[in-house]
C-alpha cells in the first residue's frame, strides 16, 4: 500500500483536509521516543479498482529546520528514517492561499527532499474577500509541482486532489529536481563545498545522509534534533567538524542562519511573481480587522475575554451537570439491577463497587471534557484562541510561561484532565511540560465536596460587614486559591531546574477571523472524546478495581453479607418494620466499618498513622485519604463508611458532619478540630489524588516518569502544606 505524507504550517486547515481525505477514520498514537502525535488514516483514491493509500499526518510546522521535536519528526518521516515507517511515496503540502509567501517557505524545504510532491492550495474560497488573486496554473509551472485549489472545511476540491494524487503515484519516476531549480541553488558555493565534504565523510563512515540533512547539520544549532541521525560514535567528530566549517564560512562572510532564510524568501518572491495579485485593499477596513480592533482593545478586549471565560466555565459546570447526573443515575440504576439479581458477596461487590463504580467515575468526566473541547475547538477554528493567548501573554510571562498556557490552566479549574489535554496547543515543549505539571494544582471541581464537608463541619457560620461576607464562604474561596498560588513558585522552579533553557518566546501567527466550521468542530470533539474513553478509561478502571480489592480483602464478609441480605429483604417488604430496619442498617454499617479496618487498606491505615500524626490526622483519616487515591471526592464516601454511616454518604448529609464533630480518639479527645479540617483541605488542595489525571499525564507525555514525578512532588507539597496549616492553626 503506498504511503503519502501530509505536511503544512499550523492554521492551514490541515486536520480538516486530513479528515476530508480519510473520512475521519484516523489512528492516533505517538512516534517512538518522542511526545509527538502520530496520526494515520486510509483513503480511497478514485473509482474501482479501488486504490487504498495510507495517509500520514505530520505535525504542523513552519519549517523543517529540526529545532523542535515536531520538525525533527517531519524530517525523519520524509527522509524514511522513522523506525517502523517506510519512506512516503509522495507528499502533499497544504498551503494557506491567503498567506502564500510564508507558507511557501516550508514547500521550498520539502522540495529539496526530492519526493514526488503535490500542493493543496487551501482556503481557496477566502481569496476573494482578502482581495487576492492567484493563477494556480502559472504557480504550478513556476514551482514545478501540480497545484490543486481546495477548501477543506467546505469539502471543495477534494476529488480533484485525489485525482492529482493518483496521477502522481502512477506517473513515471521523475528525475531529481536540479539544484538550480531549488531555493538551495542560491546558497553560497563555499557552503555547498562544506556540505559535500561532510556528506562524503559521513558516507564513508557508513552513515549516508540526504543532501538536505547534511545541510541542516551545518545550518542548525548543535542542540538541534538534526543531530539525532548521527550515530553516537560520530557525534563528537561531527560537532567539531561542523564548528570548524561554520567558522570558515563566517570568515568568508556567509551568515548562518541568515543566508538560508534570505535565499528561500528570494526564491519565493521570484516564483510567485506574476502568479499572485493583491488588490490594494485597505486591510484596516476588512471585517477581520474591525473585529480585531475591538477584541484586542485595551478595555473592551479584556472585558470581553473575562466575560467569555466566565461564560465558558459556567456552562461547563451548568450544562455538564445534567449529563453528569444522568450518568450517575444510570450507573446507580445499573448497580441496583446487578444488586437485585445477585446475593451479597465478593462478585457482587466487585461488579457494583469496583467495576461500575470505576467506570462511573471515568464516564462522569466525559460531559465536561466534551463541552470544554467544543468551546476550545470553536475558539481555535474561528481564530480567537490566538488572540486570547496574545492578551494573556504578559500576565503569564511573569511566572516564565507564555499566553498559550492560560487556557489549559483556566480549564483545570473545572477538571485537570481536559486542561492537560488542552496543553497540546502549546508548541514549546518546555512550556507545555510545565503547564501540564502544574495544571493539577488548580482547584478542580472534585475538590469541592471535600471542602464543603470540612467547612460546613468545622468553620463557624459567622458573617462580617453586616452579612455581606460570610466566614465559611471566605474560607472556601481562600482554599480554592491555595493551589493556584502554590503553582507560581512551582512553575518558576520547574522552569529553572527541571526544564532549563532559553526563556520562552511568543513568536505566534495571528490568523484572521472566520466562521467556525461545525464539521471541523464536531470532528475534533469526537476525536478527543474517543481517545479519552479508550485509553484513560482502561487504566482508571484497573486502578479502581485494585483499590476495591485492597479495601475488600482480607476479611470474613459472611456476617456482613448476611445482614445485608436481611436488610434488603426487609426493605423490599411492603410494610417494613422500621425499628428492625434501623437496627439492621446499623448492623451493616458496623460490619462494613470493621471490615474496612481489617482490610489491607485498613492495615495500611494503622501503618500510616505515625506518618500522618504530625498533620493532626488519625489512622481513619489516613485510610480515607489512601482510599481516595483514585479520586479526591471518594474521601467523603470513605469517611462515611468508616464512621459507620454507609458508603453512600454525600457531603450535605448532616449525619456525617455531626459524626465528624463527635468523633473522639482513644484518649477521649475530639479527633477533628478546625486545625485538622484545614490540614485536610490544604492536603487535598495540593495532592495528586486522582488516577484519571495521572493516567492522562502518562498518555500525554508518553512516559511513566512524569505521572510519578507529579505524584511525588504534589504529595510532598501536600504533606508539607498540611503540616504547616495544622501547626499554624492549632497554635492560633
Amino acid at each position: 500500500m503506498p504511503t503519502v505524507a501530509l505536511i503544512g504550517n499550523p492554521n492551514t486547515g490541515k486536520s480538516s483536509l486530513f479528515n476530508a481525505l480519510c473520512g475521519g477514520q484516523a489512528r492516533v498514537g505517538n512516534y517512538p521516543g518522542v511526545t509527538v502525535e502520530h496520526k494515520t488514516g486510509r483513503m480511497q483514491l478514485g473509482p474501482p479498482p479501488l486504490k487504498i493509500v495510507e495517509l500520514v499526518d505530520l505535525p504542523g510546522t513552519y519549517s523543517l529546520s529540526a529545532r523542535s521535536a515536531d520538525e525533527a519528526v517531519s524530517v525523519e518521516v520524509l527522509s524514511g528514517e522513522m523506525p517502523g515507517l517506510t519512506r512516503p511515496d509522495a507528499v502533499i503540502v497544504i498551503l494557506d492561499a491567503t498567506n502564500l509567501e510564508r507558507n511557501l517557505y516550508l514547500l521550498s524545504q520539502v522540495l529539496e527532499l526530492q519526493l514526488p510532491t503535490l500542493v493543496a492550495l487551501n482556503m481557496w474560497d477566502r481569496l476573494g474577500s482578502e482581495g487576492i488573486a492567484i493563477d494556480p496554473k502559472m504557480l504550478s509551472e513556476s514551482l514545478g509541482v501540480p497545484v490543486v485549489c481546495t477548501s477543506a472545511s467546505k469539502m471543495i476540491g477534494i476529488a480533484d486532489l485525489k485525482l492529482a494524487l493518483s496521477d502522481l503515484l502512477s506517473g513515471a519516476a521523475k528525475p531529481l529536481r536540479s539544484r538550480e531549480s531549488l531555493a538551495c541553488g542560491a546558497f553560497p558555493e563555499s557552503f555547498h563545498r562544506q556540505v559535500d565534504e561532510l556528506q562524503r565523510f559521513l558516507e564513508s563512515q557508513g552513515c549516508p545522509l540526504l543532501r538536505f540533512q547534511a545541510e541542516r547539520l551545518l545550518i542548525d544549532d548543535p542542540q538541534a534534533h538534526s543531530y539525532r541521525v548521527i550515530p553516537r560514535g560520530l557525534a563528537a567528530w561531527v560537532t567539531q567538524r561542523v564548528g570548524q566549517s561554520r567558522q570558515e564560512l563566517a570568515d568568508q562572510g556567509v551568515l548562518i542562519p541568515l543566508f538560508e532564510t534570505r535565499a528561500r524568501y528570494a526564491w519565493i518572491k521570484q516564483r510567485v511573481a506574476g502568479a499572485i495579485q493583491r488588490s490594494p485593499m485597505d486591510r484596516k477596513n476588512s471585517g477581520s480587522d474591525q473585529f480585531d480592533r475591538w477584541l484586542t482593545h485595551r478595555w473592551f478586549g479584556l472585558l470581553f475575554f473575562i466575560l467569555l471565560m466566565f461564560l465558558i466555565f459556567q456552562s461547563i459546570t451548568w450544562i455538564a451537570s445534567w449529563p453528569m447526573d444522568g450518568i450517575n443515575l444510570a450507573c446507580g440504576w445499573l448497580a441496583d439491577q446487578v444488586a437485585s439479581m445477585m446475593a451479597p458477596g465478593p462478585l457482587r461487590s466487585l461488579l457494583v463497587d469496583g467495576v461500575l463504580g470505576g467506570i462511573g467515575s471515568v464516564l462522569v468526566f466525559l460531559p465536561q471534557i466534551a463541552i470544554l473541547f467544543f468551546f476550545i475547538a470553536v475558539l481555535e477554528d474561528c481564530g480567537y484562541m490566538s488572540r486570547a493567548a496574545f492578551m494573556m501573554d504578559k500576565f503569564m510571562s511573569v511566572i516564565g510561561m507564555s499566553g498559550k498556557s492560560f487556557l489549559p490552566l483556566m480549564s483545570s479549574f473545572a477538571c485537570a484532565i481536559p486542561g492537560i489535554m488542552a496543553t497540546r496547543t502549546i508548541e514549546n515543549r518546555r512550556d507545555r511540560m510545565v503547564t501540564l505539571l502544574i495544571a493539577p494544582l488548580m482547584s478542580c471541581s472534585a475538590r469541592w465536596p471535600v471542602y464543603v464537608l470540612m467547612v460546613s463541619a468545622f468553620v463557624p457560620n459567622r458573617s462580617y460587614l453586616s452579612g455581606w461576607v460570610g466566614l465559611q464562604g471566605a474560607v472556601l474561596f481562600g482554599i480554592m486559591c491555595v493551589g493556584a498560588l502554590v503553582s507560581i513558585p512551582v512553575a518558576w522552579l520547574l522552569k529553572r531546574f527541571v526544564f532549563p533553557g532559553d526563556p520562552s518566546t511568543f513568536i505566534m501567527e495571528l490568523s484572521s477571523y472566520k466562521w467556525p466550521s461545525l464539521r471541523v468542530v464536531i470532528m475534533r470533539v469526537w476525536e478527543r472524546v474517543l481517545s479519552f474513553i479508550a485509553r484513560a478509561g482502561s487504566l482508571i478502571f484497573i486502578t479502581s478495581v485494585l483499590v476495591w480489592a485492597a479495601a475488600y480483602f482480607p476479611g470474613d464478609h459472611g456476617p456482613a453479607d448476611k445482614a445485608q441480605a436481611e436488610l434488603e429483604a426487609q426493605e423490599s417488604m411492603n410494610n417494613p418494620d422500621t425499628t428492625k430496619l434501623e437496627s439492621l442498617r446499623e448492623q451493616v454499617h458496623r460490619y462494613n466499618a470493621q471490615l474496612i479496618s481489617q482490610s489491607y487498606l485498613g492495615r495500611a491505615g494503622d501503618w500510616i498513622e505515625p506518618i500522618v500524626r504530625p498533620l493532626g490526622w488519625d489512622g481513619k483519616i489516613g485510610i480515607a485519604v489512601l482510599a481516595s487515591f483514585p479520586a479526591r471526592e471518594v474521601i467523603v464516601a470513605t469517611l462515611g463508611t468508616i464512621y459507620s454511616l454507609g458508603s453512600d454518604q454525600d457531603q450535605h448529609s448532616q449525619g456525617l458532619v455531626d459524626q465528624l464533630r463527635a468523633a473522639t480518639g482513644p484518649d477521649g479527645k475530639a479527633v477533628y478540630s478546625l486545625a485538622t479540617a484545614c490540614s485536610i483541605m490544604v492536603f487535598f488542595a495540593l495532592c495528586a489524588q486522582c488516577v484519571s489525571t495521572l493516567v492522562t499525564i502518562r498518555r500525554e507525555t508518553n512516559s511513566w516518569r512524569w505521572p510519578i514525578f507529579s505524584f511525588v512532588y504534589m504529595t510532598t507539597l501536600a504533606y508539607i502544606g498540611a503540616w504547616i496549616a495544622y501547626s499554624f492553626m492549632s497554635r492560633w
Binding site: 498567506n99 510564508r102 542562519p257 480585531d292 485595551r298 501573554d393 511568543f506 505566534m508
Partner: protein, 77 residues
Amino acid sequence: MVTITLSELQAGQAGTIVSIEGNDSVAARLMEMGLIPGELVQMVGQAPLGDPVEYEVVGYRLSLRRVEARRVRVERA
C-alpha cells in the same frame, strides 16, 4: 541612516527591516516567519497589557514580545 528597533514603532507606523541581531534559534525563527532584511513591516497594535505586539509582515499577522521585537532593527518607512 538612523535605525530603530521594531519595538519602537507606534501603531500604524511601518519600517523596512535592516538586520536581526544574533544567530541563535530565536533569530532563525524570526527570519523563517518572514522578518528578513528588506521586508516591510507594520505595527498593528499591542495587547491590552502593553505586550506582546501585533505586526503585519509578508501579508500576514505576527505577534512578538517586545523583547523579541527589540532584536529587529528597522528603518522608518
